[in-house]
Symmetry: D2
Subunit: 207 residues, 4 copies
């Protein structure tokens, strides 16, 4: 089994992006699955293009995208991506779409095809707080998840895809009072656990 894991570069004035910090620390093989790592820019459309290029090249069974959700308390597994871009701040290429459909010909929304409840339970069993999120926002994170699921659906590919949001790292909240954070070790363990669950559930389904 081959799993493509994507992460973003820093945005919104941050010097690091915890998703990339986690990505570089993931093992290359988890639960027997080969892990392909890809950093994409925090940019509308370009992020999706890069992911699709890599999907064509690597033909993964699963695409798991990771992103920073500053202000959230726990690991959140996204349930759905909606067909809208609405950016509060410009992306890393200066693009700031407002109330714009991502793909006029796409569906209003796509649900994650990962086993989101099993992932939540698996992470919690490792004593790390996790929950389902019903909104990936309307910025680049939602855009990337929508773009990948839209590409898979339109091309009738047999690929599962989903998105996990992770909190700020402690060093990012030093000047942000009353803002939650999570250590890099905890976040790496959470994402590795998520991947283990995905592999196990995938094996169940395919056997």
């Amino acid at each position: 089994m081959k799993i493509l894991v994507t992460a973003f570069d820093p945005f919104g004035g941050e010097k690091i992006n915890p998703s990339y910090e986690v990505l570089t620390r993931l093992n290359d093989v988890i639960e027997g699955a080969e892990i392909i790592k890809l950093q994409v820019p925090t940019a509308f459309y370009v992020s999706v293009d890069r992911a699709i290029e890599k999907i064509k090249e690597e033909k993964p069974d699963v695409v798991l995208s990771i992103g920073q959700a500053g202000g959230r308390f726990d690991i959140t597994i996204e349930r759905v991506a909606i067909n809208i871009d609405d950016a509060r701040i410009p992306d890393n290429l200066g693009q700031q779409p407002i109330d714009t459909p991502i793909d006029e010909s796409g569906e209003p929304a796509y649900f994650s095809t990962l086993p989101i409840k099993a992932i939540v339970n698996g992470i919690r069993e490792e004593k790390i707080p996790a929950s389902i999120s019903n909104s990936a926002g309307t910025y680049v994170c939602n855009h990337l998840l929508y773009g990948i699921l839209n590409y898979i659906k339109k091309n009738k590919l047999n690929i599962k895809a989903g998105f996990i949001h992770i909190p700020y790292l402690p060093e990012q909240v030093i000047d942000k009072p009353n803002t939650p954070s999570m250590s890099i070790e905890t976040m790496v363990k959470a994402i590795e656990t998520a991947i283990k669950v995905i592999v196990r559930e995938e094996k169940k389904t395919t056997m």
Copy 2:
């Protein structure tokens, strides 16, 4: 130099107390100072009695108490203890004093005699969020800090004392939505950094 570090046992329905988890993981020597470790019960008066016994026995230069402040986001260095017990829940001995002075003959409050700002800065330099707290509450944490400072003051001892509150561990917030937590590794590093700062500042003062 000898530093007595105290921590509490679990209370309020929790199965663990992060302060004790940190205590057991501290090195026995930090920055050249000998670390004496003491767990005290989460109980009014008894906690102070145990600490005083140990102070008499070990004659430390510094007493640093650690406690859990569930719901706080960062490492908080307490500035002051006030002369009041007001318990929202019973302590581990079933005591629940309401609006009761800790010591009728004590001062209304005692300020921590540790270098609280230097500790905050030292922890933040290690990329861990920390801040000053102006209230240790009115439960056993405030009680212990007040009791130790009161004992030192009344007996004119040359001992510095203070209190650091630490957040919940991740495993404690799994069923507490929107509640911040901090990993054990981060908290141990923060407390060891605090002790290093205390030792350095103490050396400055005494030279």
Copy 3:
């Protein structure tokens, strides 16, 4: 112009539902539009059935649903409803669907057809905090919004529809520490402002 406004009965252990408290205080005519008021039960499917009955009976131009979002800080205008029921607690009829599509033949999501950004701006101009929400959750609120938009879409009706979530009332948070609330006067003013904006925008479109 005729506007059907719906609100819910209390749920989840609450004695009142602020949405119903607001509903009963709305003027019968706002900005020239006739206001039809309907309370629906906090129950999957039945809430939608009641709303559809009333839509058939009254043939409104607009359906605005209001619901309680305990824990939110401001007036939130919902952007979208998704095709899923996932109930953390049973509804008022004891139903607790888990990860169940609302309508197998419906679209994955429907976007609100109300002028959501104009409503946010209008309420903020009245000095009341308001914002867009990208998730109405997966409980009865999302269900009702989805059900109404699904009905309108499938029947090709010329009706606009949307949903506004309001915070707890002050009296609901007396025993909920660190939970935001909003006064009934403020919430009534916010909803009346939302209706004024809807009427004005609707007139612009139809002229």
Copy 4:
């Protein structure tokens, strides 16, 4: 009975101070007591001087100070003032004392002499959320409360004094996401209720 109520002018970039908005709306007679209203500047020392001048002039039985505590969720009745100034931002006169005792000859802290628990209960009975606060901070609010109690104590006056913090008004949080607020009507009712409780408790004591 005569009650001096003080409030502050706006500070920290705010255009209004809810404490002053409440002050101007208080009845001139509450529960038979005459209400003397005084606005003081948000400034160290000068605020206390103004309050003391007015105390000398009016000889009130009670001094109740009100201040804004942005970010708090409910009406908070302060328990204690501590002998320290530590300003995160300059006051309205540009003063920014850091870790400075308010009065070298004063006590480390003074407890409010108002019936704080009875006030909390009275406000909650009016369906408004309220609680005890164990810290008035280290800015001008704590300074004023300390200054007034210090003056009363040193001059052995028979005057009760205390402090109530109130949240932001809704209009203040329009550009502050996830920040709680409270309507002016609710806050006026809460402060009038507090005064009624003070009068009733005072009458009990003095009879």
